[in-house]
Symmetry: C2
Subunit: 167 residues, 2 copies
Amino acid sequence: MMKAAEPNISTNLISDVEAIDRVMLRLSWAARKQLAQELEQYNLTVPQYVTLRALRGAPAGCTMRELAEAAQQLSPTMTGIADRLDEAGLIRRETDLRDRRSLRVYLTRQGEQLMETLEEQRRSRLITVMSCLEPQERRDLIRLLDRFVNASLDQNQTDIHRSVVNE
Amino acid sequence: MMKAAEPNISTNLISDVEAIDRVMLRLSWAARKQLAQELEQYNLTVPQYVTLRALRGAPAGCTMRELAEAAQQLSPTMTGIADRLDEAGLIRRETDLRDRRSLRVYLTRQGEQLMETLEEQRRSRLITVMSCLEPQERRDLIRLLDRFVNASLDQNQTDIHRSVVNE
DNA sequence: TATTGTTATACTCTATAACTATA
DNA sequence: TATAGTTATAGAGTATAACAATA
């Protein structure tokens, strides 16, 4: 008889999985919509924001290829995003003198200022939200979420560059 | 002197906020990429999947307007998404006989089967991931995450329809 | 020949405005 | 007139293939 050896634990795991599935879909959907809305006032899209963050977290003057990897984009996609960030005056691209195939990408001062503004705004919003949790609960949430995300994303090769998106 | 009254707690809150900011960006970005990749083999996009889930969670035969609300989309956007789901044979739209302005949307049998397949696939993947956590840790994660998401999204009006996206 | 980055192309999503049909 | 849904249009992201310049 190969029924579930431990019905309670098994049942709990299934219902846990359904609960986490719902909350994760909600996060990756509704949270993204909220971020998009927050960025809209600065005429910034989510991929553009991710790119700026990757750029900020990367060593100064990374190449287009490195930037594309860090932001998890393909080369042609990154070209388009960089074109628009460039046009908005948030980044600049300069030919690498030692390898004239490469472009070095930098945040402009305006880009740095925008990122500071956004960081301040995000921080104050998150402080409000996080205040709803006790200090110990906050640490638990971060620790467990980090373990979950690592386990979840390390299954795939999707997340090779998490150190950069993660800053 | 209005310095931080409790330096340790204050400092911890700031660093907690930075940690949660990173992991949240990572979730709403990398996790979405992973979902997109998982759906790709079925020629399904993330918005299409969210729509199918909302449809599955909604009472049978909801209107286009209700579906758009449930999936947090604008009317014209939902028309386009529904067109493609229709063309793929996953949903069907029928004129409401009592109000001929309205369309009633249904999952086709093919659509239901696809959703079952996807649910099975997601479940088995999540079971693997969740197994990395102890039962008590899983419950803690779900509880804390739920509280965080509610606090975070209830700030905005972004998430009016979480019951449906949430199923 | 291999690499860097771009252009060309096609499709999807998103947002706004204008429109049709129904109520 | 108000509502349900669509079409029209434009911009942005995503993916593939082809290309130029450089190494």
